[in-house]
């Protein structure tokens, strides 16, 4: 499978990554190399192998249902580019 320009632009938009026109050709070549490598990996037969989602055999650690965090709204919004009182503010978005 090889990547075309419109697919590249769509993927970039979905990830909100800005790509200059001058970079497009280079990006397509690089991504196509990665895709080719993935295709090579696909040649290995893994039909009877369980999917591995990590290198450790640990199970997910769980915590008790206790409230022991939060309550610092001023800190939460302290780095916000725009805020009013203790709310973040953004340009109006309405459906």
């Amino acid at each position: 499978m090889s990547l075309d320009k419109s697919t590249l632009e769509r993927v970039a938009y979905l990830a909100r990554i800005k790509i200059e026109d001058s970079e497009i050709e280079k990006m397509i070549t690089e991504l196509n190399n990665i895709m080719k490598w993935i295709e090579e990996l696909n040649e290995v037969d893994v039909n009877n192998v369980k999917p591995m989602t990590g290198v450790s055999n640990n199970s997910l650690r769980e915590r008790e249902d206790e409230v022991n965090d939060g309550g610092y709204s001023d800190e939460i919004v302290s780095n916000a580019p725009e805020k009013i009182d203790n709310s973040f503010t953004v340009p109006k978005v309405i459906e």
Binding site: R63, V67, N68, D69, I76, I84, P91, E95
Partner: protein
């Protein structure tokens, strides 16, 4: 058997195909992946941790109770609980989602296929399939009415644990969809995994709907969002079905899209912004290992499952001799059933069921109060019933006493005493009263004796008027019959 509603178009008959996705807030003190609180109505961003605000370097740790509640709910949906499930990232950009992705479950949900029975009235039941149940985070909340050109972002909801429960496309009209939503709400409330409060957004519903000629393949579906009541969901489905039929009959094609229901205008409209976002690029969240659930843990919650609505209804029919309808109404919500069982203890269950449904529920409905908010509790209502059953007051008087208890408070006994509402069953007293009425109204008596039997009611009325409605109607009838037919 009940026939599903079919819609008549210009060119013939159409059938609806409906599936629902329910988002139920899991009943937990803290969030799915952080220790901040989940209380409703707190001030903006006061229940937000650095995890919920997606500060760099913060790691999610799952809430054990949310997992337990999902297992319990899975059992109540007769579903398979999966030993291994995986959390994925669902990627999209919106101001209410600080992470830029929602942690959800895509390929391997915690709960697989199941089913529930829905009640279609008159004792008829339909089985509706459940596709899956998975755990996910809620997003924050946007407020648009605080400022002319800004939206305010409150992340208190961000990270709240949700169960998304997806049905199979098994419903064929809005009545069935309504019955499904009500039943699911009842079930999660019975087991306590969600409070079911649709006004506060603890339970929300998206509807997938398409239309087809009866028996043919499924048509293209649209997803309706933003539905926060059973009534609105049913109306949204009806509107949307007619909209799709009109498009097809005019030679067009239904476009698969997300639409927003507007309850004020009773219409659905396209949400363009969601179109582009439909590619969520799911992948397993590298911050979270697979969730392993042992068989012991699964079985433990199966054993602890409380009596569910269907079982309770059957028991009410069997143990209390109630009709399907009465048992169904009383078990629709756990709070109703609990209330009924307290009041009916040691009393005539059929009488209590009838009275609670026709008078007590009607009153709650009228003032739009829940049973928890009722000014008259089960014990107090029971005391009122005792006064009816031992003949102290008549059924008619009981309604007035109940209204007084409900509006101004007080115990039944005290109200009856204070207002002198005790039923007069004393035969001597009533007999002398009746004799006097007969003496004073010789004209009416002769009319009655000449065959105008309707006048009997007039005499009863006079007796009631003289006693302020406190005369025992049965005794009055007997006395008048004896005296007038002499």
């Amino acid at each position: 058997m009940r026939e599903a509603i079919k819609l008549k178009g210009e060119t013939g008959i159409w059938e609806m195909v409906i599936g629902l996705e329910i988002h139920a807030q899991v009943n937990c003190k803290s969030k799915l992946f952080s220790g901040s609180a989940t209380d409703f109505g707190a001030s903006p961003n006061s229940q937000v941790s650095y995890v919920d605000a997606a500060m760099p370097g913060m790691l999610p740790v799952i809430n054990s109770e949310a997992v337990n509640q999902a297992i319990k709910t899975g059992h109540a949906l007769n579903a398979k609980i999966n030993n291994i499930s995986i959390f994925d990232r669902k990627n999209y950009f919106y101001p209410d989602l600080p992470q830029g992705y929602q942690i959800s479950q895509f390929k391997s949900p915690i709960v697989g296929e199941g089913w529930i029975n829905i009640d279609l009235g008159k004792g008829e039941i339909k089985k509706i399939g459940i596709e899956r149940l998975h755990l996910e985070q809620d997003a924050g909340k946007l407020m648009h009415d605080q400022h002319p050109r800004l939206s305010f972002v409150d992340l208190n909801r961000s990270g709240i644990p949700l169960m998304e429960i997806v049905s199979k496309p098994d419903m064929r009209d809005w009545e069935e969809a309504g019955a499904y939503l009500r039943k699911l709400r009842s079930i999660v409330r019975y087991i306590g995994s969600c409070d079911g409060n649709m006004d506060q957004g603890s339970l929300r519903c998206d509807a997938n709907i398409s239309v087809r000629r009866p028996g043919e393949e499924f048509g293209t579906r649209c997803e309706l969002k933003n539905i926060n009541s059973v009534k609105f969901m049913m109306k949204a489905v009806e509107f949307e079905a007619y909209r799709q039929i009109e498009i097809i009959e005019n030679g067009g094609e239904v476009k698969q899209e997300t639409r927003l229901y507007d309850p004020n205008k009773n219409e659905t409209r396209s949400m363009r912004s969601k179109e582009e976002a439909h590619d969520y690029r799911y992948f397993p969240d590298p911050d979270l290992l697979p969730l392993n659930i042992s068989n012991d843990r699964i079985e433990k919650y199966k054993d602890e499952l409380p009596e569910l609505p269907d079982q309770k209804r059957e028991r009410f029919q069997k143990d209390y001799g109630l009709s399907f309808y009465d048992a169904d109404v009383l078990t629709a919500d756990k709070s109703y059933a609990d209330f009924f069982e307290i009041v009916s203890k040691g009393r005539d269950a059929k009488f209590v069921a009838n009275w609670v449904i026709t008078n007590f529920f009607a009153m709650l409905n009228e003032v739009e109060k829940s049973i928890e908010e009722s000014p008259v509790n089960a014990q107090q209502l029971g005391e009122l019933f005792d006064l009816i059953q031992d003949g102290t007051i008549s059924g008619r008087t009981a309604k007035d006493v109940f209204e007084e208890m409900f509006t101004n408070g007080g115990r039944a006994n005290d109200i009856v005493e204070a207002k002198g509402l005790k039923q007069i069953s004393n035969t001597d007293e009533l007999e002398s009263m009746a004799k006097k009425i007969i003496e004073d109204n010789s004209e009416q008596v002769s009319k009655y004796k000449n065959g105008n039997e309707k006048l009997f009611g007039w005499f009863v009325g006079q007796m009631m008027k003289n006693t302020g409605g406190t005369a025992n109607p049965k005794v009055v009838n007997e006395i008048l019959k004896t005296l007038l037919n002499k």
